[in-house]
């Protein structure tokens, strides 16, 4: 059970405080309700580029990192398709430094040209390092655009192409900031050996004076129901053929999300999971296989991917995966198997809550979903799931006409 207190400033900033007196450290986390899904299709990668710019100096403070490091603090940030999150950890004695820094960059950035010029290059190098210069690094670029015809999940957070990042202008930056980085669209979570009253005072002092801004109303077109299987073949200079398959699943708040999560575990989590045991160990079709999902807020994807053992064809590999899915849908889930994945879920949740930083990030995420208290209900949701319910949901998602397949052919 993670305890927290919650209040809202007059400007709409939601503030959560998690008191934990077992640590000398405080974590200050600011989550903004904007991610790659909110980008203009011609300016993709912008939310992430913007995250970099948040470290390029704010209106009153030329450098974000230096004063924080002087106060003994560390920080980082990440951008997903759904949200952008900034967090720092520092000795609790110096917590006001974090309020000063975070509130100033919520007030306004410095919008320096140099910062934009440099960070465009840095992000292009990041793009190359993770997506272009790695074998199979572009697979999800292809898969997302195959699986999503309409919804902006069709691109990666890094962006569709280098050009979009290279062309970002200072005007784009300003517009994006004042549209999304306002108190009304943000959540502040503070944790550590702190008292809620003190945090209230600090929040009022530093964040209170910032203009509320306009509530961003997300109005994305939902992805239409897929009615026919889709497939793409690409050739690449890689050593092994690779198979990718994904199926649409429910959004994060839907019960279907929890069912998908457990189905993912049954199929592909751990050495005793079905796909690994059958297709890697017994039949030796794949050199390795994974089954996972992205935990996205809007309806997401459940994916199965693996590299093939030399001599096996992609068609054989696809048939073998389909056979395992068929096996699940025909014979259902054994009680022992259900118990196993529920135990795993319990354990994963407990380990996630060990680190103060992780607890803080989670509180912000659940608040963004609508209610931080959801965090404490997760385990019971999973525990209420039955084998029959899982099977029924499996039958709903694992349909041939809902499948998106990428054959990644090795050519040398």
């Amino acid at each position: 059970m993670i305890h927290f207190n919650r209040f809202v400033l007059d400007n709409g900033l939601r503030v959560l405080v998690h008191e934990d007196f077992s640590t000398p450290l405080a974590v200050v986390n600011v989550m903004y309700d904007v991610g790659a899904r909110d980008e203009n299709p011609d300016r993709t990668g912008f939310a992430h580029l913007f995250e970099h710019l948040m470290f390029g100096g704010s209106i009153n403070i030329p450098d974000y990192d230096e004063p924080l490091q002087k106060a003994g603090g560390e920080n980082n940030a990440y951008t997903t398709n759904d949200l952008t999150n900034y967090y720092c950890q520092l000795p609790v004695q110096n917590i006001e430094t974090a309020f000063w820094l975070e509130s100033d960059r919520m007030l306004s950035l410095a919008f320096g040209k140099k910062s934009l010029d440099v960070q465009r290059k840095v992000v292009c190098e990041e793009f190359k390092e993770h997506y272009l210069n790695k074998p199979y690094g572009n697979a999800w670029h292809h898969l997302r655009s195959l699986a999503y015809t309409t919804h902006p999940y069709q691109w990666l957070t890094i962006g569709k192409e280098l050009k979009h990042v290279e062309e970002a202008s200072l005007d784009d930056v300003k517009q994006f900031f004042f549209k999304h980085y306002r108190p009304i669209n943000a959540i502040l979570v503070v944790s550590g050996p702190v008292k809620t009253d003190d945090i209230k005072r600090l929040a009022d002092k530093w964040f209170g004076p910032i203009a509320m801004g306009e509530k961003y109303i997300r109005n994305l077109t939902a992805e239409p129901l897929q009615t026919a299987a889709r497939k793409k073949d690409i050739d690449s200079n890689v050593p092994l053929d690779a198979f990718y398959r994904c199926y649409p699943i429910a959004g994060r708040l839907d019960r279907g999300y929890y069912l998908s999560d457990l189905l993912t575990d049954i199929m592909g989590s751990g050495a005793s999971s079905r796909l690994f045991q059958k297709l890697v160990k017994e039949q030796q079709i794949f050199a390795g296989i994974d089954c996972y999902h992205f935990g996205s807020i809007d309806p997401g994807l459940l994916a199965i991917e693996g590299k093939l053992v030399k001599g096996i064809s992609l068609d054989e590999a696809a048939a073998a995966v389909e056979h395992e899915i068929e096996e699940l849908l025909t014979n259902g889930i054994q009680p022992q198997e259900l118990e196993k994945i529920k135990n795993k879920t319990e354990s994963v949740i407990a380990f996630e809550d060990v680190a103060l930083m992780s607890r803080t990030n989670s509180l912000a995420f659940y608040e963004l979903l609508g209610d931080a208290a959801l965090m404490n209900e997760e385990l019971s949701r999973y525990q209420s799931i039955t084998a029959d319910e899982l099977l029924a949901y499996g039958k709903q998602i694992f349909k041939k006409e809902h499948s998106n397949t990428l054959f990644y052919h090795a050519v040398n």
Partner: protein
């Protein structure tokens, strides 16, 4: 209404003034002399227990024997198949991982506190009853060969291997690299022999942390106290370091690569050398954190890379001081030039008081984080114990961070940042 002076930083307490304390674990020995270090604490009812063996590749007679033995510990025992072992672990939502390093190799259990008692016998069987079935070895070999073929396409993977090979020599355990022939040559007999000598009859230390069961000592005694470990002395193994004659190696691994992996490194004395802790401070200034000189210049000013770091890689016999980055193909040469330029700047003048103040505080704050909670604390203890560091090392390290002077840092830079001493790898 904003009457705040936002240009003025709030007052801070110097992290340097903090009194940092490393809690002491409970230390005891099982009846077969296996030492146990136990750090109890934490609100979540979870534990991590690690069995550390002197079974790294330092002790192998043939390439990949140590790593393969370690990997295959979980793939079959006298009474259980690989699948049955995985099911037994995963049924409780637990995980058992294993890792092989240069000197040591480990088995690590993560689980809920309530499942410790039921999982310990299984871990004991991995140490005492593993059988290395032939078909498991075959699958492992096949999978590793395929994985290697993919990794060899990555410039960072290739560069990491190459820098170790040139620093230590390809025959040395620190410099040796995996290759197809070595996987092909693995035999069950060799794995078995290594296992019996270095696990079943090997040297083991146990590190436990988290919300530990009250009777952990009795449980460990019951399952591990009578195993035949820690009885025979370890064989003496000496390995000569034979550095490469050529300092600069630029290679093209992928004609179409859009980035180059750069590794620049030199040999450096180990943890016990009096310069070691001081060098950590110099390393921070140079390339050890986000505000470092390398990062500020090469990423934040020039935009040549997504990230650049320097670090001291502390092995037991000898360590290395390394700089590591992936940079755009067309700016690799410029990046390398800037790296040496930053070394030269540190050799030309001491860091000013402001920079030194910042780095001291940053390192102290970071240490505070490193001591937070039982998992972090046991990691630090493990490091001290496995490296046989003297009592008071922690306090001395802190004193060094607090007191080292700019002049001392200048002298260190002049000693260690000579371009001619560095190996330079660039892999596109």
């Amino acid at each position: 209404m904003d009457k705040l002076n936002r240009k003025k930083a709030p007052a801070i307490e110097d992290a340097v003034a903090f009194h940092l304390k490393l809690d002491t674990p409970l230390i005891y020995k099982l009846s077969n002399a296996t030492p146990v270090y136990a750090m109890h604490g934490g609100a979540q009812e979870v534990v991590k227990i690690e069995w550390v063996f002197n079974a790294g590749n330092w002790y192998e007679d043939k390439n990949l024997i140590a790593a393969s033995t370690n990997f295959l510990l979980k793939n079959g025992t006298k009474n259980k198949t690989a699948l049955a072992i995985s099911e037994a672990i995963e049924y409780y939502g637990a995980s058992v991982s294993r890792s092989c390093y240069n000197e040591t190799a480990t088995i690590t259990l993560h689980c809920l506190s309530k499942h410790v008692a039921i999982l310990l016998p299984l871990i004991a069987s991995l140490i005492n009853e593993a059988v290395f079935p032939e078909d498991e070895i075959n699958i492992y070999r096949k999978m590793q060969l395929q994985r290697l073929s993919v990794n060899l396409r990555k410039c960072d993977f290739v560069a990491n291997r190459l820098i170790d090979a040139v620093l230590y020599g390809e025959a040395h355990p620190y410099g040796i690299t995996s290759n197809a022939a070595a996987y092909e040559a693995l035999s069950r007999e060799e794995l078995n022999a290594f296992y019996h000598q270095f696990y079943t009859h090997g040297f083991c230390k146990i590190f436990a942390a988290g919300h530990l069961p009250d009777n952990l000592d009795a449980l460990l005694e019951a399952h591990f106290g009578s195993l035949p470990m820690n009885a025979k002395p370890l064989p003496d193994r000496a390995h000569n370091i034979i550095p490469n004659m050529v300092k600069k190696h630029h290679i093209i691994n992928d004609e179409n690569g859009v980035q180059g992996a750069i590794r620049i490194g030199r040999s450096f004395p180990g943890r016990k050398h009096p310069d070691y802790v001081k060098s950590l401070v110099l390393n921070n200034i140079f390339g050890g954190y986000f505000g470092s000189r390398l990062m500020s210049n090469i990423r934040e000013d020039k935009g040549y890379t997504y990230g650049i770091y320097s670090y001291i890689q502390p092995y037991q016999q000898q360590s290395a001081w390394m700089i590591s980055t992936e940079a755009g193909r067309d700016v690799c040469a410029a990046t390398i030039e800037e790296i040496y330029k930053e070394m030269n700047l540190l050799c030309a003048a001491p860091p000013d008081e402001d920079e030194l103040y910042l780095v001291r505080n940053y390192m102290m704050g970071s240490l505070l984080g490193d001591l937070d909670g039982p998992f972090q604390q046991i990691t630090r203890w493990k490091n001290y114990i496995l490296n046989d560091l003297p009592e008071g090392y922690f306090e001395e390290s802190i004193a060094t961070v607090k007191n080292i002077s700019g002049e001392e840092l200048l002298a260190l830079a002049r000693e260690y940042f000579q371009q001619k001493d560095f190996y330079e790898i660039q892999v596109i």
